[in-house]
């Protein structure tokens, strides 16, 4: 099951390595990880999405996260109400397929065209993770030159 875990940490070097090594040392792959400063510049917020096969191990990882000296709080959003967003940027080859698809997608309001020329077209989408997945499916018809995504960020209700 996918878990979304938020950790507020001290904003200093080495903290990311400590946090990520808790997962890697147990052979857990992090699905996504987003890090950024909070309103308090001494605190960073890490949003970690991880697929846990064994809930007991995840429980242990959360405790270990809490135990890290640089970690201030840990919050597992999984069974809580929260808002999530992920941003993707996609560079598409500017051909006919692309044109058609963009027209429908832009109409739906799911994507925004940022730049367009005769060779390529760069678009962005910002939404919940499952909607992003849907958009990606739609875009499959076009030729994707490059795709980057931020990983999920979340905020509790």
């Amino acid at each position: 099951m996918k878990h979304t875990i938020q950790a507020l940490v001290e904003n200093r070097f080495g903290v990311l390595a400590r946090v990520s090594s808790l997962f890697s040392a147990r052979g857990y792959n992090i699905t996504s990880l987003a890090v950024g400063e909070t309103a308090d510049p001494t605190v960073s917020c890490m949003t970690i999405v991880v697929n846990a096969e064994d809930e007991r191990i995840l429980e242990q990882i959360k405790k270990q996260l809490n135990k890290l000296i640089d970690v201030i709080t840990v919050n597992d959003f999984t069974h809580k109400e929260y808002i999530e967003r992920e941003l993707i940027l996609i560079k598409l080859s500017a051909d006919r397929n692309c044109e058609e698809m963009l027209t429908t997608a832009v109409k739906k309001g799911s994507i925004r065209v940022i730049e367009k020329n005769k060779n390529f077209c760069i678009i962005e989408a910002c939404s919940e993770r499952h909607k992003i997945e849907e958009i990606l499916k739609e875009l499959k018809k076009a030729e994707v030159i490059e795709l980057v995504r931020t990983g999920k960020i979340a905020i509790g209700k």
Binding site: F13, R18, S21, Q60, N66, I69, D70, V71
Partner: protein, 558 residues
């Protein structure tokens, strides 16, 4: 003030009396400041030994041990010692030199990523990049090392930071918003725990290393005498409760006593205090105390429900929680554990720790330990290496006092014992310190004979010499058809080796000479290396085969 002086002044403020270490290119300024500082510097002959000696110093005193080495190989040589301390929750501050800040990351001469290397084997680590942070970093490092669940903290100090100038400011208060260990037990949990005790018929207390770390031995004794619950002391907990007490069950687990393992298996309530349910204690998890409710007292929340599912967790310091429990007891509600005690007495009578005398006229290692126990009246600090020597010492010396048994429990580091014994003796010069070693492990840091000789450290080295790596050989004998792969040893003449370093050496080959030899060793007011030639194929029994249930012991069940 120069960075190197700031560092030394900070150590003095922390009350550091001894530093174990080894110099090198990246710590020359530091050593210069150390030269006329009122801190004793002990030069070991290998950085690993410096780390273990600081560890031994910390184990015997409860204070923070300090070691120091240069960048690169100096620091990497410390890592085994750091990991050893980390596994056993030993407070240590480890100072490493680093190449100058402008060169970090450039593959400079004697550069290693010490922060990266030690991240997973230390409680915390620092790279000091600004001279202004140095004094605070040291203050914080000592606080983190000694508080909560203790552990080693590494401070990596680039050489240019050591020579830069700054004002020395001592920080009285430490405030870390993200690190606040819990000290008092939650009152609701205390009530729940007492309720379980009132409902139990066959309770057992497991006393772990946390009892010793928190200094809770008196509180534990009081609690036990008020409740009449039998106690098993884990390997790390030996000395946390008197082994000679009538309610003591001795050590549980792989080489524990039959009665401790039987009592755990049959119990209906386990009260674990500062024990993390290591796999050497539990054996097969599914068969561990199958009918028992579990109360788990630990300062480290990650230890709780890690291996064993717990019914009543109590996070906090063992000493406080034991006091809270004792205060809360309603003696009229404590059940009569008489039938349970009788049960245990029967197991004790039927299955005592035992060994047979040699049919070949050889010395039995257990006899050596028993003799040392008898002649020191249980008051010596016993340090061990790792392997059979360690288990025989744990089984046959009776530990009545905390901080009298120093051994690498979690990591099982061969080569730990000898330098740790040196650190312990330097910390407590009036205390008899005896190292129980094997012929394999003593050779992992045998160069420390030079340290013993240089500083006249009066430790006694007892080598139980069976010409093999005995513990692995035992497994090969029992589970691998006696195929002794990689375990036979060709040893040097330990007596001559000792003499080569200017240390008294003696050899003992006959059981009838053990008593007089032990007397000679203990009465000597200089260090001694004693080579006891023991029965080669002697095994440590009882034994729970790896992965088996702890009541399935071989060798030792009646």
């Amino acid at each position: 003030m120069k960075g190197s002086r700031i560092l030394i002044e900070s150590l003095l403020k922390e009350g550091v009396e001894v530093i174990f270490g080894y110099p090198g290119g990246s710590v020359i300024p530091l050593f210069d400041s150390l030269y006329d500082a009122p801190i004793k510097f002990i030069l070991t002959r290998h950085e690993q030994a410096a780390a273990h000696a600081a560890d031994g110093y910390a184990r015997v005193t409860g204070k923070v041990g300090v070691c120091l080495a240069t960048s690169g190989p100096g620091a990497t040589n410390l890592t085994t010692g750091i990991a050893t301390a980390h596994m056993d929750s030993i407070p240590m501050v480890v100072i490493t030199g680093q190449v100058k800040t402008s060169l970090i990351g450039n593959d400079a001469f004697q550069e290693a990523d010490v922060i990266g290397i030690t991240r997973s084997i230390s409680k915390y680590n620092y790279l000091v990049k600004d001279i202004k942070d140095l004094a605070y970093t040291i203050r914080e490092a000592f606080y983190i090392a000694a508080s909560g669940r203790p552990g080693p903290v590494v401070i990596d100090v680039p050489v240019d930071i050591q020579t830069q100038e700054a004002e020395f400011k001592y920080f009285d208060k430490i405030e870390i918003r993200s690190y606040r260990p819990t000290h008092l037990g939650h009152p609701g949990q205390i009530r729940k725990a007492l309720k379980l005790i009132y409902q139990s018929k066959k309770p057992v207390i497991i006393a772990g290393g946390g009892v010793i770390i928190s200094g809770a031995n008196q509180e534990l004794l009081k609690f036990v005498e008020d409740t009449d619950i039998p106690v098993t002391e884990t390997f790390m907990g030996l000395g946390g409760f008197p082994s000679t007490h009538k309610l003591s069950l001795g050590m549980p687990g792989m080489h524990g006593t039959v009665y401790a393992n039987m009592a755990i298996t049959e119990s209906d309530l386990l009260v674990s205090i500062g024990c993390r349910f290591d796999d050497r204690v539990t054996g097969k998890i599914e068969a561990f105390a199958p009918g028992a409710k579990i109360i788990h007292i630990d300062i480290d929340p990650t230890s709780i429900s890690k291996n064993i599912k717990v019914d009543v967790p109590i996070v906090g310091d063992a000493k406080n929680i034991l006091e809270q429990l004792t205060e809360g007891i309603d003696e009229s509600k404590i059940p009569d554990f008489g039938p349970w005690h009788k049960n245990i007495q029967d197991w004790k009578k039927k299955n005592p720790l035992r060994y047979e005398t040699s049919k070949r006229g050889k010395i039995k290692p257990q006899q050596v330990i028993e003799e040392i126990y008898a002649q020191t009246k249980g008051t010596a600090v016993i340090v061990t290496e790792v392997g059979q020597n360690q288990m025989w010492a744990a089984q046959f010396y009776k530990f009545d006092y905390p901080r009298h048994f120093l051994s690498s429990g979690g990591l099982g580091t061969m080569g730990f014992g000898f330098p740790a014994a040196i650190g312990a003796k330097l910390a407590k010069p009036s205390q008899e310190v005896i190292l129980i070693a094997g012929d394999g492990s003593i050779q992992m840091n045998i160069q420390e004979l030079a340290t013993v000789s240089t500083y006249g450290v009066n430790v006694k080295v007892v080598i139980l010499n069976n010409y093999c790596l005995g513990m692995v050989r035992q497994w090969q004998e029992l589970f691998y058809n006696r195929r002794y792969s990689g375990t036979p040893l060709k040893n040097p003449d330990f007596v001559k080796v000792a003499q080569g370093y200017g240390i008294k050496g003696l050899r003992v080959e006959k059981p009838e000479n053990v008593k007089s030899a032990v007397k000679k060793i203990i009465s000597s007011n200089e260090p001694v290396v004693a080579d006891f030639r023991i029965e080669e194929e002697e095994n440590v029994f009882p034994m729970v085969p790896a992965g088996e249930a702890i009541n399935r012991m071989i060798g030792g069940m009646a």
